[in-house]
């Protein structure tokens, strides 16, 4: 942990940041040396992105100071950070699809001739020089939508260089890359180092950290656990530092239940996203489904629910083969899906609590085409009371409700439908601790009433605390099944990241 102050390029001291209901960062210290690759790791929600957004000027810290080359700096917006040589490369990218490579790199800073015309020859010459520096070969006139994700990433890096970036932040750059593309990225990172550029590298993939990083900082629950040079670290310690936490008393206890056959999925495949998935969900059972973002968990849920059509495979309900071609078919067969993204896929914000709640079951309740208003109001009032949904009225638009209450409404939809199988996709994302506990209670309660439950979650404590069985997916395949008594966060992460040699 030697720390020679002379080559420190960046130092963040006592950084704290809170959002309503969450302390995202607490007195975090983070520093980088010139020309190193510094890895930043931690679970989802550990505060990595918040810290990097503060560094890039997107958020302002509540407390703390940032020093760049020993000088105190303050960023009020991303432009301030860019001016002093800090660039961030986001997962989703920030290129304009219909402009070409050169136009994107020099967007807003185009070299000009007299009279304000764009000087194309200089534009392409400068772009070529940049790409040569990174030894990247891409057609300068190709529109960005024609390029692969990896190529786009390289263009973003070239753009950062053209802005004279001395510090480049890469937020999960490897998430969508193939192995060859990843090698290429590593070469580029090496060439950046040779040019004296510092790289902050965020990734969930442990093996990459050991491959590319010089030092690693572990964040957990908004605090720094350790900062170590990579030689002094090993995979086991790193994983333990990322996850090892006290779990007592955070989950309600479980009751007994009968186990009858519920939903089975056999050999489900879907080009490029799901490979030969087998799954058994018994009545009254909670099955936790873990895996990294992009491992195919959501796609599996959507395939069962009829949103995406699988190429192969069959689904059985209570031993009977069923055909699911649309969400309507799934609902008619008693399957419900509580979607991951409430705003995009869960609730219609402009409609009332009542109308959202009954949306999937209205078909069944309708008499002669008419909405059974009295019955509808009674049912909704009952479920609103049962779930303690805080709303001034059931006619209130859901957009005015808090995140936790919105989530309860999206659960209420499926409770009222009396689904036998309920799939939860990240049921507690973005809601506060109190509401989380209520959701946990509800999930257990449903299982107690004989529902079969599949719960997708990136919060491992949640998976461990609630599940009767834990499944792990990686790259569209089912890679492991664990019983809660044998499972640990370390084991799950090992399976999910492909480092399962130890277990």
């Amino acid at each position: 942990m030697g720390r020679e102050t002379d080559d420190i390029i960046l130092e963040m001291k006592h950084i704290s940041k809170s959002f309503p209901g969450v302390q995202a960062l607490e007195k975090v210290a983070f520093y980088c040396k010139k020309g190193e690759v510094k890895a930043l790791v931690g679970e989802n929600g550990a505060g990595k992105s918040t810290l990097m957004k503060i560094l890039a000027g997107v958020y302002q810290p509540d407390e703390g100071e940032i020093f760049l080359k020993r000088e105190k700096v303050q960023f009020n917006n991303p432009h301030d950070a860019q001016k002093v040589g800090i660039s961030i490369i986001y997962q989703e990218g920030s290129l304009l699809p219909y402009l070409n490579v050169a136009e994107n790199i020099f967007l807003g800073r185009e070299p000009r001739k007299r009279l304000g015309f764009i000087d194309s020859s200089t534009l392409y010459r400068k772009t070529q020089e940049l790409l040569d520096e990174l030894s990247v070969e891409i057609d300068l006139t190709a529109p960005v939508y024609d390029l692969s994700l990896a190529q786009r990433q390289m263009i973003e890096i070239a753009k950062a260089l053209s802005l004279n970036a001395e510090l480049i932040i890469m937020d999960e750059p490897s998430a969508a890359l193939t192995t060859q593309e990843l090698d290429r990225l590593f070469q580029i990172i090496h060439s950046l180092k040779d040019h004296g550029v510092t790289v902050i590298y965020i990734s969930h993939r442990i093996e990459e950290i050991f491959h590319i990083a010089d030092r690693v900082t572990v964040l957990k629950d908004g605090k720094v656990v350790s900062t170590t040079s990579i030689e002094e670290m090993n995979e086991e310690i790193l994983i333990r530092q990322m996850v090892g936490r006290d779990m007592d008393g955070r989950f309600p206890s479980k009751g007994e239940f009968e186990k009858k056959k519920g939903l089975s999925v056999v050999g489900l495949s879907c080009q490029g996203v799901l490979h030969d998935i087998n799954l058994e969900l018994r009545k009254g059972e909670i099955v936790g489904l873990a895996g990294l973002v992009g491992s195919g968990r959501t796609e599996l849920a959507k395939a069962i629910f009829g949103v995406i059509r699988p190429d192969k495979g069959a689904i059985y309900l209570n031993g009977r083969k069923i055909k699911i071609k649309s969400p309507r078919d799934a609902i008619d067969n008693g399957i419900g899906l509580v979607t991951e993204d409430r705003k995009r896929e869960g609730l219609i914000l402009g409609l009332s609590v009542k109308k959202n709640t009954t949306l999937p079951s209205l078909d069944r309740l309708t008499r002669m085409g008419l909405v059974p208003e009295k019955r509808e109001r009674e049912m909704v009032k009952k479920i609103v009371q049962e779930l303690d949904i805080r709303t001034p009225s059931i006619d209130r638009q859901v957009e005015y409700l808090s995140g936790g209450n919105q989530q309860k409404v999206s659960l209420a939809k499926w409770l009222i439908t009396e689904s036998d199988v309920i799939i939860f996709d990240e049921p507690t994302r973005g809601i506060d601790v109190g509401a989380k506990f209520e959701i946990y209670n509800l999930v257990l309660n449903l299982a107690g009433r004989g529902k079969a439950i599949l719960m997708i979650s990136s919060e491992l404590p949640e998976i461990l605390g609630l599940s009767d069985r834990i499944l792990v997916m990686r790259e569209g395949k089912m890679v492991g099944e664990l019983l809660p008594q044998d499972a640990t966060e370390e084991k799950i992460i090992s399976l999910a990241t492909g480092l399962d040699k130890g277990s």
Binding site: A330, I331, T339, R344, D363, T366, L370, I389
Partner: protein, 321 residues
């Protein structure tokens, strides 16, 4: 505390609910407009003129019902104007004054309009062409076909058919009664039926509606079909009013109906609004035309005033939101 509103029909609640505010705003505008017009023109404040305004509002009113449904799903229908013209020309061109043909020709016209609407719906749901482009194309196809059929006013309708546009029941004009009933029926359809609920849901968010088990493509298909049907109905009405068919008679109704719907507070993004607002929008457009006519203001001023009303109304709704 999960307290739940009890008084279902209290005025306060209606106003407090969103959409309520917009309806209030638009009816205030309508009433203000009527009061001002009555003050400046003695011709305006006659009962004869009032009935005249209602009569004039019927054609725009009928098309605007369909346009409201379509806009609620998040789309729009540009083909209604040419469908009206086609409907009117087919009506007079085939009836040629023969009483016995009133019923079969009316049915035929409605069928043609329904088919046009269904065509729109299929292009949008199956070929995934955005509504603006699908219905723009349909507008052109229908207008072109009509001009192949006739380039000038054509045919005449039997006297009995004139009752549709000119009839009286007691002192109430038949078309006004007809429009009132039609509006009532579609209001019930929108507010009370499951299908009406699905229209709002689909316009509110199509993907979520689909994930909630709604067959959103059928919802969209049926909505455009209804719009085509209602445009043909408006075409029948136009033929009855003019006693003949004019191949350009429906021109402008596509944009006027969209304007009436938007002025009435329905969101172009879909999912919000309704027929109560559209009625006010239709009446405002008609009253403006009427008072400016009575004051001998040249026609192009009407365009300017209507344009200002459209922009003004929608900017007010933005603020209310």
């Amino acid at each position: 505390m999960a307290e739940i509103g009890e008084k279902r029909f209290s005025l306060k609640k209606i106003i407090r609910a969103r959409g309520g505010k917009e309806t209030m705003a638009i009816y205030s505008l309508l009433i203000t407009l009527i009061i001002i017009s009555s003050l400046i023109s003695s011709d305006f404040r006659t009962s004869r003129n009032a009935i005249n305004i209602l009569r004039q509002a019927v054609l725009l009113g009928i098309v605007s019902i369909g346009q409201t449904l379509v806009i609620l799903t998040g789309g729009l229908d540009l083909s209604v104007g040419s469908t009206i013209s086609l409907g009117a020309c087919l009506t007079s061109g085939i009836m040629l004054g023969r009483d016995g043909l009133i019923l079969p020709v009316s049915l035929l016209v409605l069928l043609v309009g329904t088919a046009i609407g269904m065509g729109n719906g299929l292009v949008i749901t199956k070929l995934k062409v955005p509504p603006f482009i699908a219905t723009l194309g349909m507008m052109s196809i229908v207008q072109g076909s009509l001009l192949l059929y006739t380039k000038r006013a054509i045919g005449w309708v039997p006297t009995a058919f004139l009752f549709f546009a000119d009839g009286q029941i007691g002192f109430v004009p038949f078309p006004v009664l007809f429009y009132a009933l039609l509006l009532l029926a579609f209001s019930i359809f929108l507010k009370k039926t499951t299908f009406g609920r699905y229209i709002y849901a689909t316009g509110g968010n199509e993907e979520i509606s689909r994930l909630s088990g709604i067959r959103t493509r059928s919802v969209i298909l049926i909505t455009y079909t209804l719009s085509g049907f209602l445009a043909a109905l408006a075409g029948l009405f136009l033929a009855s009013r003019l006693a003949m068919g004019d191949p350009r008679g429906g021109e402008g109704y596509e944009l006027n109906s969209i304007a009436a719907v938007l002025v009435g507070g329905t969101s172009l993004a879909g999912g919000r609004g309704g027929l109560a607002g559209t009625l006010a929008g239709v009446l405002i457009m008609t009253v403006v035309g009427n008072i400016l006519n009575l004051m001998d203001v040249p026609g192009f001023w009407q365009w300017i005033v209507k344009g200002l009303i459209i922009i003004g109304a929608v900017s007010v709704y933005r603020k209310i939101d």
